[in-house]
C-alpha cells in the first residue's frame, strides 16, 4: 500500500448550499416530524424550475452584491444555476459529480451522490435540524455539528411552503448569502436543452 498519508484539506466548503438544494429535492424519508414531511414534499417533484434573486453581503465590500437568474433542479440530474444579471454565468452540479468545474466540484460528487440518492442521514450527520411552523409555512434551521464545518459556517435557514423559497446562509466571519426563489414551475422531465447542459457541459 502506497502513499498512505494524503495531504488533507480541512473540509470542502462550498458544498453546503448545494447540499441543501439537492437534499430538499432528493430525500424521501418517513414523515415522522416536520423536517421529514418537508423533505418528502420537496422530493416529490421530478423537475422544478424557478427564478432566483441572490444577495451576498461581504465585509470587505462597500455594498451587497445582488444577482438574479433561473435555476433548474432535477431530482435525477442535479442542479443548473444560470445567472443572468449582473453578469452571465452558468454552474452545473451534476448528480454524478462529473460535470464542469475543477477538483472542488469533483470533490462534491461524493456528497451529491449521497444526497441525490435520498440519503437524509448525510445531512443529519452534518447538521442539527430545527424545524418550525407547519407544512404550509415552514422554516428549518440548520446548525453545523462538525467542528470543521462550524469553522466557516454559522448556520443555514431554509423557509418555504410548497417549495423551498428562501435559503439564508451565514458564514462564521459574518458574511452572508441570501437566495429567494419564486415563479415555481414543476415538470416531469428536463427539456432537451437542459438535458444537454447536464450531460455535455
Amino acid at each position: 500500500m502506497n502513499q498512505l498519508l494524503p495531504r488533507f484539506s480541512p473540509g470542502s466548503v462550498p458544498e453546503l448550499v448545494l447540499v441543501v438544494l439537492l437534499w430538499t429535492s432528493g430525500c424521501a424519508a418517513a414523515a415522522d416530524d416536520l423536517a421529514d414531511r418537508v423533505v418528502e414534499r420537496l422530493a416529490s417533484y421530478p423537475v422544478v424550475r424557478a427564478d432566483f434573486l441572490q444577495e451576498r453581503t461581504v465585509a470587505s465590500l462597500t455594498k451587497p452584491v445582488t444577482s438574479s437568474g433561473r435555476m433548474v433542479l432535477s431530482r435525477d440530474q442535479g442542479l443548473l444555476w444560470q445567472v443572468e444579471q449582473p453578469v452571465k454565468a452558468t454552474l452545473v452540479f451534476s448528480a454524478n459529480g462529473t460535470a464542469e468545474g475543477g477538483a472542488a466540484q469533483a470533490e462534491m460528487g461524493r456528497l451529491i451522490r449521497a444526497i441525490v440518492g435520498a440519503d437524509l442521514r448525510e445531512l443529519r450527520e452534518t447538521f442539527d435540524i430545527e424545524p418550525r411552523g407547519d407544512l404550509d409555512r415552514w422554516t428549518l434551521h440548520l446548525r453545523p455539528q462538525r467542528r470543521e464545518v462550524a469553522q466557516y459556517l454559522r448556520g443555514i435557514d431554509l423557509a418555504g411552503g410548497k417549495h423551498l423559497e428562501v435559503i439564508s446562509v451565514v458564514e462564521a466571519n459574518g458574511d452572508s448569502l441570501m437566495m429567494r426563489m419564486r415563479n415555481f414551475a414543476v415538470a416531469t422531465e428536463l427539456d432537451p436543452a437542459e438535458r444537454r447542459r447536464f450531460l455535455a457541459p
Binding site: 502506497n2 495531504r7 452584491v65 450527520e125 466557516y152
Partner: protein, 773 residues
C-alpha cells in the same frame, strides 16, 4: 586411518560446526522474509535501484488502521481506545488518530506571497485567449450560490485565480473527510475512522514485526473492551511481511515435521529397528547443520525459502544412509563396516556426483535466493555423504541378525514383477497411449512469469487492504516515474511536462490520479511566465483595474493593497520553502534532493501501455516498474533454464558414459527423461503456469531421479536390498517434496509440484534402466 578415528574426526568437526552455528544464531536469526531479496537487482541503473529502495523504506514504514462501529459516537470511542492501546503498547514511531486543529493558514503562509505566479491550466488559457474584464471576473466570484470561505480573504484574491489553483492541487481523499478531527468515512451502515501510523524500523525486521503485530492485537483488545461491536482493520507492508513469516514458519514446521515423521515410519517399517532411522536422521541433521553454517558464513543471512527448502532436504540426505542400511541388511552375517562401505561407495559416489553437478549448475544462476538454495544443498549433501561413508559405519559394527532373504526378498519379487509389467507387450501399448495423452498437456503448457503470482498474500489482510483502499482512495500501484535533471529547476520542468501528459491520461480515464512535486511547486519558468501573463492582462492598467474593482464594491484601500501585493511578489515559490512547510510532509519522499530527482506516483492505473508510452521522448523521464522488470527477468531465466536443463542432462550423460559406456548410459537416463516429459504434461493439464521454479525443480529431478537408476544398476548383486533402498529413497523424497507442494508460498509450491510428479515418475519407471534378462 581406522574407522573409529575417522568417525571421531567427523564428530569433532560436527561439534565445532554446531558451536559456530550457535554462536552465529545467538546474535539473532538473520532470516530474510522479503521474497524480492531472493532476486537479483533488475535495474541496470543503480540510481533507479537506490530510489526503489528508498521509496520502499518510506512507504513500507506506513501503516493504516480503520476502526469502525455502527455510529459516529461508538466509532470515535473505539478509535480513541484503539489509539490509546497502540500508544501504550509501543512499536509505532508516530500515530495520527485525531487532528486536534488544522492550521488553516498554512497554505496561505506558503503560497499567498507567490500567488500571482500560480495559475491553473484553464485560467492560463483563458487569460491568454481573451481580454480580461476585471468587473465581470470579480462578479462571477460573487454570484455563485456558494459560501465564499475562500482560501484567502476576498480582497486578496478577488478573481479567484489562487483559490482555483489551490483547489485543483487538493487530492481527492476518497470518501474520507474530517469530522471533529477524525478522518471519517461513512460506509453504508458503518462509520469508519482512519488512523495513520509509521512503524519504528524496517518492515522486514522480525522484532519490528513482532512489536507492531502485538501492538495491534493489544489495541484491538482494548478497543473491544471499550466497544464490543467495533471492528479494526489494518494495512501496511509490515503486516504482510509478518504474515508471510508466520506462514513460512508454519510451512517449515509442517513440512519439516511431516517429512521427519514420514521418513521415520518408513525406515522403521523396512528395517524393524529405530537405529537406522536415528542414524539416518543424524546424517541428515549433520547435512543441514553444515548447510546452515555455510550460508551464515557466506551470505550472512538465510532466505526464508532456503530454510523451508532445507527442511525438506532431509528426504534427499536420508537416501544415502538408506543405501548403507539396505546393504547391511542384505549382507546378513558376513557384514563388516569396511565391506559395507566398499559395497555402497561406487553407486553412492556416482549418485552424489550427479546430484552435486545438478546443484552446482543451479548455484550458477544469478538469483541470490536460488543460488543460496543450491549452496545449501551442495554443502549439506556433501556433508551427509561424508557422514554416511565415515561416521555411520562406526555405529554399525555388528551384522544384521535378520535373514537377508526374508528381509529384502519381497522387494526383489516386487521389482521383478514390476519390471516384467513395464517391459511387457501391453506396457508398450500403454506407453504409446500415455505418450499420446501427454501431447495435449504439453500443448497446454503456458508460461507466466508475473512475480506477483509468486508472492503469497494473506487473504484476510488483502481483503482488509482492498476495503481500506476503496474507502480512502489511496490506490497507488507499484509503478512510478523517475524524473532526473541537472538541477532542481530542470527536474521540475521535466516533471511538469510529464504531468501534462498524465493529465491527458486522467482525462481519458486511463489513470485515476498522480502525485507530483511540480503540482505543488511549479517550475520557476512557469511561475515567471504566469506572473508575466497576470501582469499584462490583469494589472496592465492599474487605474482601470482599481476603477472596476470599485464598481463591484471593493474599497479603494483594498484595491491599492492588491496592487502593492502584486508589485512585491516577484520571487517565485521554491522547493526549499515547500520542503520547510508542514504541508509538504506527506509528499516529501517524492523529492530526492541529493540527485536531484523526483518521483511521480501513479494511482489507479487502468491502461499500463498508455502510461508506459508517454515516457518516450521526454528527457530525463524513466518509468520504473519493479514488479514488471522482475517478471521480465524471471521470464528471461525461464527461457534460458530450458537450455540449462538440456546442458545438465548432457553433463549427467557424460558422467554416465564415462562410467558405463556409450551403450548403457542412455538406458540409465531413460526413466528420468520419461518422468520429466510426463511431469511437464501434468503441469499443462493442471493449468499450473510454467515458471523458472518449475524448471529448476525438473533440473533437480534429473539429478535425483538418475540416482535411482544408478543405485539399481550398481546393486544388482543384492537386488532385493537395492530395490528396497530405491523404493524407500523414492518414498522419503516424495514425502519431503510432496509436502513442499502444499506450501503456502506459490514459488515453493510449483517447485514442490514439479519435483513430486517428476520423482514419482522416475521411481516408477526406474526398472526400465535395467538390461533386459
Amino acid at each position: 586411518m581406522s574407522l573409529k578415528t575417522r568417525a571421531a574426526l567427523v564428530l569433532i568437526a560436527v561439534a565445532i560446526a554446531a558451536a559456530a552455528c550457535a554462536a552465529y544464531l545467538a546474535r539473532g536469526v538473520p532470516l530474510q522474509t522479503n521474497l524480492l531479496a531472493m532476486l537479483p537487482p533488475t535495474e541496470r541503473d543503480p540510481v533507479v535501484e537506490h530510489v526503489i529502495a528508498k521509496l520502499a523504506t518510506s512507504v513500507g514504514a506506513r501503516v493504516v488502521f480503520m476502526v469502525s462501529a455502527h455510529d459516529a459516537g461508538h466509532a470515535r470511542r473505539a478509535a480513541d481506545a484503539f489509539a490509546a492501546g497502540l500508544k501504550s503498547a509501543g512499536g509505532l514511531r508516530a500515530l495520527m488518530a485525531r487532528l486536534d486543529s488544522v492550521d488553516r493558514s498554512l497554505p496561505a503562509k506558503l503560497y499567498a506571497p507567490h500567488r500571482f505566479g500560480l495559475l491553473t491550466d484553464e485560467d492560463r488559457a483563458g487569460l491568454a485567449r481573451t481580454e480580461f474584464n476585471a468587473r465581470d471576473a470579480a462578479l462571477r466570484q460573487l454570484v455563485m450560490p456558494l459560501p465564499s470561505a475562500a482560501a484567502l480573504p476576498l480582497a486578496q484574491d478577488p478573481f479567484g485565480f489562487y483559490g482555483r489553483w489551490l483547489a485543483s492541487r487538493e487530492p481527492r481523499a476518497g470518501r474520507l473527510r474530517l469530522e471533529d478531527g477524525y478522518l471519517t468515512a461513512r460506509d453504508g451502515e458503518r462509520v469508519r475512522i482512519v488512523l495513520l501510523g509509521e512503524i519504528d524500523g524496517d518492515a522486514y525486521d522480525e522484532r519490528v514485526q513482532q512489536r507492531v503485530v502485538s501492538a495491534f492485537e493489544h489495541a484491538s483488545a482494548d478497543m473491544h473492551a471499550a466497544e464490543p461491536q467495533a471492528e479494526a482493520w489494518r494495512a501496511g507492508t509490515v503486516f504482510y511481511a509478518a504474515a508471510a513469516r508466520a506462514a513460512a514458519k508454519r510451512d517449515m514446521e509442517r513440512i519439516g515435521l511431516g517429512a521427519t515423521i514420514g521418513v521415520a515410519l518408513l525406515v522403521l517399517l523396512a528395517f524393524r529397528t529405530l537405529r537406522p532411522m536415528l542414524l539416518g536422521l543424524l546424517s541428515a541433521a549433520i547435512g543441514i547443520l553444515f548447510g546452515t553454517l555455510a550460508l551464515l558464513v557466506i551470505d550472512g543471512e538465510i532466505q526464508l525459502v532456503s530454510l523451508a527448502f532445507g527442511a525438506s532436504l532431509i528426504g534427499e540426505a536420508v537416501d544415502y544412509s538408506i543405501l548403507l542400511f539396505a546393504a547391511h541388511l542384505a549382507a546378513g552375517a558376513v557384514w563388516t563396516p569396511e565391506r559395507g562401505v566398499a559395497m555402497v561407495r561406487p553407486g553412492l559416489t556416482v549418485a552424489v556426483g550427479t546430484s552435486l553437478l545438478a546443484y552446482a549448475l543451479l548455484a550458477l544462476l544469478p538469483f541470490p535466493g536460488v543460488s543460496q538454495i543450491a549452496r545449501f544443498a551442495l554443502v549439506g549433501l556433501a556433508a551427509s555423504y561424508l557422514t554416511v561413508l565415515w561416521l555411520l559405519p562406526a555405529f554399525m559394527q555388528r551384522p544384521s541378525t535378520r535373514d537377508p532373504q526374508a528381509a529384502t526378498g519381497w522387494a526383489a519379487v516386487l521389482l521383478d514383477k514390476w519390471s516384467a509389467l513395464l517391459t511387457g507387450r501391453r506396457a508398450q501399448w500403454a506407453a504409446v497411449a500415455i505418450a499420446l495423452a501427454c501431447v495435449p498437456g504439453w500443448l497446454a503448457l503456458r508460461a507466466n512469469d508475473d512475480v506477483r503470482l509468486l508472492i503469497s498474500r494473506d487473504a484476510q489482510l488483502a481483503s482488509e487492504e482492498a476495503a481500506i483502499r476503496a474507502l480512502t482512495g489511496f490506490d497507488a500501484g507499484g509503478r512510478f516515474f523517475l524524473v532526473r535533471g541537472a538541477n532542481e529547476d530542470e527536474v521540475l520542468q521535466r516533471e511538469a511536462a510529464l504531468v501534462q501528459h498524465l493529465r491527458a491520461l486522467e482525462h481519458a480515464g486511463a489513470l485515476a490520479r498522480h502525485q507530483a512535486v511540480s503540482d505543488h511547486v511549479p517550475p520557476r519558468s512557469r511561475q515567471e511566465e504566469d506572473r508575466a501573463l497576470v501582469a499584462k492582462r490583469v494589472f496592465g492598467e492599474p487605474q482601470a483595474l482599481a476603477r472596476e474593482l470599485a464598481q463591484v464594491g471593493f474599497s479603494p484601500e483594498s484595491a491599492k493593497t492588491l496592487l502593492q501585493d502584486f508589485e512585491r511578489s516577484r520571487e517565485p515559490l521554491t522547493i526549499a520553502a515547500w520542503l520547510d512547510s508542514p504541508l509538504s510532509s506527506p509528499l516529501r519522499h517524492l523529492w530526492l534532493r541529493d540527485l536531484p530527482a523526483s518521483v511521480v506516483t501513479l494511482h489507479g492505473e487502468r491502461d499500463v501501455v498508455a502510461t508506459a508510452s508517454i515516457a518516450t521522448g521526454l528527457d530525463g523521464v524513466t518509468l520504473v516498474d519493479k514488479a514488471g522488470s522482475v517478471s521480465a527477468l524471471l521470464g528471461w531465466y525461464r527461457a534460458s533454464a530450458l537450455p540449462g536443463l538440456l546442458i545438465a542432462a548432457a553433463a549427467v550423460m557424460l558422467v554416465l558414459v564415462l562410467r558405463y559406456g556409450l551403450r548403457e548410459a542412455p538406458r540409465l537416463m531413460l526413466p528420468v527423461v520419461l518422468a520429466l516429459l510426463v511431469s511437464a504434461a501434468i503441469f499443462g493439464y493442471s493449468g499450473q503456469p510454467l515458471t523458472v521454479f518449475a524448471i529448476g525443480a525438473w533440473l533437480l529431478t534429473l539429478g535425483i531421479g538418475v540416482n535411482y537408476a544408478i543405485f539399481l544398476r550398481e546393486g544388482m548383486d543384492r537386488r532385493g536390498a537395492t530395490a528396497m533402498a530405491v523404493m524407500l529413497s523414492g518414498s522419503t523424497t516424495l514425502l519431503a517434496w510432496g509436502l513442499l507442494a502444499l506450501s503456502g508460498v506459490p514459488a515453493l509450491r510449483q517447485f514442490g509440484f514439479a519435483l513430486l510428479t517428476g520423482i514419482a515418475g522416475a521411481v516408477l519407471l526406474t526398472p526400465l534402466a535395467l538390461r533386459r534378462q
